[in-house]
């Protein structure tokens, strides 16, 4: 992964972005990446899944991780899939260890939280997590 940058707006290149840990930057970056994927011929369904995954994972980072540096995103287009690597220096956060939320069909019993990462796991083809050098590394793959 490239050396971290401090301002994603200087890097319109879709394939590596440094995203400041604030919600407006996160929301804009997720939307921009999806648009650029569509422009590169990625299906609307796959671009939407990447949009959703980046927004949910980075929103989580902003709210809970206490990351000091901007989150790094690297995107690779393979023939069959989009691979997105997300790296931050926040507290350990393994999305694979989150409990599956209760998706009760009863409105009164239904809890509001914990659904975002659960949906990400359902929408992507694969999701992997590693903690290396005090950094979280999340890799998602979405079929094109």
């Amino acid at each position: 992964m490239k050396k971290p940058d401090t301002d994603c707006k200087k890097h319109p290149d879709a394939w590596h972005r440094s995203v400041p840990n604030c919600l407006p930057d996160v929301v804009a970056a997720a939307s921009d990446v999806a648009e650029q994927l569509r422009q590169h011929g990625v299906s609307a369904t796959a671009a939407h899944a990447v949009h959703f995954a980046i927004e949910e994972i980075l929103t989580n980072t902003v709210r809970y991780s206490r990351a000091a540096q901007p989150t790094q995103i690297a995107i690779a287009l393979r023939n069959d899939a989009v691979v997105v690597e997300i790296e931050d220096d926040g507290q350990p956060f393994d999305p694979l260890q989150l409990p599956t939320p209760q998706l009760s069909a009863n409105l009164d019993d239904r809890q509001a939280g914990g659904i975002g990462i659960h949906l990400v796991r359902k929408m992507v083809s694969s999701l992997a997590y590693e903690r290396r050098h005090n950094r979280n590394h999340i890799t998602i793959t979405v079929a094109r």
Binding site: E55, E56, L107, L119
Partner: protein, 118 residues
Amino acid sequence: MLDITHKPEPPGVTVALKGHLNAITAPELEQQLDTLLNSAHEYIVVDLGNVAFIASAGLRVFLACAKKAKRANRGLALCRLQPQVQQIFDLAGMTPLFLIHPTAEHAHTALRQRSASK
């Protein structure tokens, strides 16, 4: 990023959304829906026909609104969900929790009948 417009259609109101419903825009929508739930409108129809993206923050707003509407005995329906938005509702298991209609007219008709039968 999310335009929110209200169109009173007594005894209900249509709330039309345009844009992305995400962590930035969800709080404003929740505030406006709360205000409408405390108004004289008997029901709310939320038109999602121009919403291309919904994040979990948006789902939470609708879940909270549905609970508040139930407690206040007000009607709430959603309409014109685009395929990507419908997919999120389905994966979240939220589709059965809502009255979802293909058009605003269908939603108003259903809620008007519900309101009249109370």
